[in-house]
């Protein structure tokens, strides 16, 4: 009889109606969606589920990484030797600048002390390996192999050998998620090296970035280098972020449309350096806090006042 069919449908114990169940689950998932987006208080749930999912994901990544390993193993000595020679050559070329760096830093520090300017913060961090790209097609994120166990916290910036890559946005026990600077609306406060003008560069989600809210007559040229301005208490000052690749100025709009391409190998696999969190900024002046009723531009008020005093 076992081969006939499964158990007969239950006549008396039927459970809730499908529509009621549907309404229940739909409400729960919508609630979870909104809470995760707006309140971000579900990280514990995410971390718990990640403990189950993470081994499966790593297991699924092994065939691909095995192929990569084998390929790099078979590439052989010749390529390695050539690469080694090139690297040695590159090192020699940069040597004149690098060798004097220590002396320059010391000199800079001394001069800064003379000028009574606060000393520059040291950049320290830890190297992390990019495990895989996040599968979510609506955003640009990567997963690295260092997490809570290595002391990573959300908000730390990540750089590679050329420039800023992104920022840690979620931390799991053994891995962390880095949102790339090219992710849509990911913002990095920058400074134009040539003119010293400060602005914010936003990811477009297409692999490029945009320098928004610059007036149409702003002093920007194609090829201008954008470096972190250090005004955000997240990124240290002076790391290359992007290079301006196109400017459209139209009379109809008051802002210029300035496109920039990231300098770091943002979409490449490899290793990144996760920089330690910056020292917290000095507390705000109590006077400025009392006056800055709007609260969103606390830095502007004291300056204006000083300017007024100067007159």
């Amino acid at each position: 009889m076992a081969s006939l069919d499964h158990a007969p449908p239950p006549f008396f114990k039927r459970g809730p109606a499908p529509l009621a169940l549907l309404a229940f689950y739909v409400l729960i998932s919508l609630a979870v969606f909104v809470v995760d987006l707006r309140v971000r208080s579900l990280d514990l749930l995410r971390q718990t589920v990640a403990l189950v999912v993470d081994p499966l994901q790593r297991a699924a990544q092994t065939p691909g990484s095995l192929v990569d390993h084998t390929r790099s193993y078979l590439e052989g000595m010749q390529l390695l030797q050539r690469e080694n020679n090139e690297l040695r050559h590159a090192k020699l070329i940069t040597a004149p600048n690098l060798l004097r760096l220590e002396q320059l830093e010391a000199e800079n520090e001394r001069l800064r002390k003379l000028l009574l300017v606060k000393e520059r913060e040291d950049a320290k961090g830890q190297v992390a390996q990019i495990l895989y790209t996040s599968r979510d097609p609506f955003s640009r994120k990567v997963i690295v192999d260092k997490g809570q166990q290595s002391g990573i916290v959300a908000g730390q910036p990540a750089i590679d050998e050329a420039g800023v890559v992104g920022q840690v946005t979620r931390v799991f026990p053994f891995s962390a998620e880095i949102t790339l600077i090219t992710d849509k609306d990911q913002a990095v406060p920058v400074q134009i090296v040539r003119s010293g003008q400060r602005s914010v560069v936003f990811g477009l989600g297409t692999g490029q970035m945009e320098l928004r809210y610059m007036p149409a007559n702003a002093d920007v040229e194609v090829g201008d280098m954008l470096v972190t301005s250090g005004l955000d208490s997240i990124y240290l000052q002076g790391y290359p972020v992007a290079k301006v690749v196109g400017i459209e100025r139209e009379g109809a709009y008051s802002f210029a449309r300035i496109l920039a391409a990231p300098i770091a190998g943002v979409e490449n696999f490899g290793e990144v350096m996760i920089l330690d969190p910056r020292q917290p900024l000095p507390p705000r002046q109590p006077e400025a806090q009392g006056r800055g009723a709007g609260g969103d531009k606390p830095g502007l008020r004291p300056k204006k006042k000083q300017a007024a005093k100067g007159k």
Binding site: D5, L21, F33, D36, L45, E177, D185
Partner: protein, 173 residues
């Protein structure tokens, strides 16, 4: 149960462990690096849809919700995105199941296509509404290929339920 309701071939009852196994394999297939290519189907949605059609008393919206949560965490997506889409898919598939199984398998595939497209479009709409970037039209190619895969998938997932062809004449069932 038969492969389709018009077929005269009887199947063995499904074994629960085979349902679990197929869903775990689907999860693993989704985690493979191939998932970045355009047109690679969402395996979990496809297998979930299959079992919701065939065994709607065993695999329902609760399963869909849990699988959706796993996919959300694995993808790094907003929690609830896959949950919502999969729950809708499981509901639609189970309410279609009594009609769907009367059709030959190729026509079943055609009727499954809108369900899978809906799953994908719901997710896209949810994310675009909260400021995600558009993933490109390749994102909607996955369901089309998945519905083509419905035909081999039906054969593979029903394999453990087929009975041997040579039968004992004394015991016809």
């Amino acid at each position: 149960m038969q492969p389709t309701f018009t077929s005269s071939r009887l199947l063995l009852p499904v074994r629960p462990w085979f349902i679990y196994l197929s869903l775990i394999v689907a999860l693993l297939l989704n985690f493979l690096p191939t998932a970045y290519w355009a047109g690679v189907p969402d395996w979990v949605a496809l297998v979930l849809c299959f079992w919701s059609v065939r065994e709607f008393r065993r695999v329902g919206m609760g399963w869909a919700f849990v699988l959706g949560l796993l996919m959300d965490v694995a993808d790094g997506a907003v929690l609830g995105q896959h949950c919502f889409a999969y729950v809708l898919l499981a509901f639609a598939a189970s309410s279609l199941s009594r009609r769907l199984l009367w059709f030959p398998i190729a026509q079943q595939a055609l009727q499954v296509l809108p369900l899978l497209l809906l799953t994908q479009m719901v997710q896209a709409l949810m994310r675009l509404a909260v400021g995600g970037d558009f993933p490109g039209w390749g994102y909607f190619l996955g369901p089309v290929i998945a519905s083509l895969l419905w035909i081999p998938l039906t054969f593979v997932l029903l394999l453990p339920q087929y009975r041997p062809v040579e039968q004992n004449p004394d015991r016809p069932i």
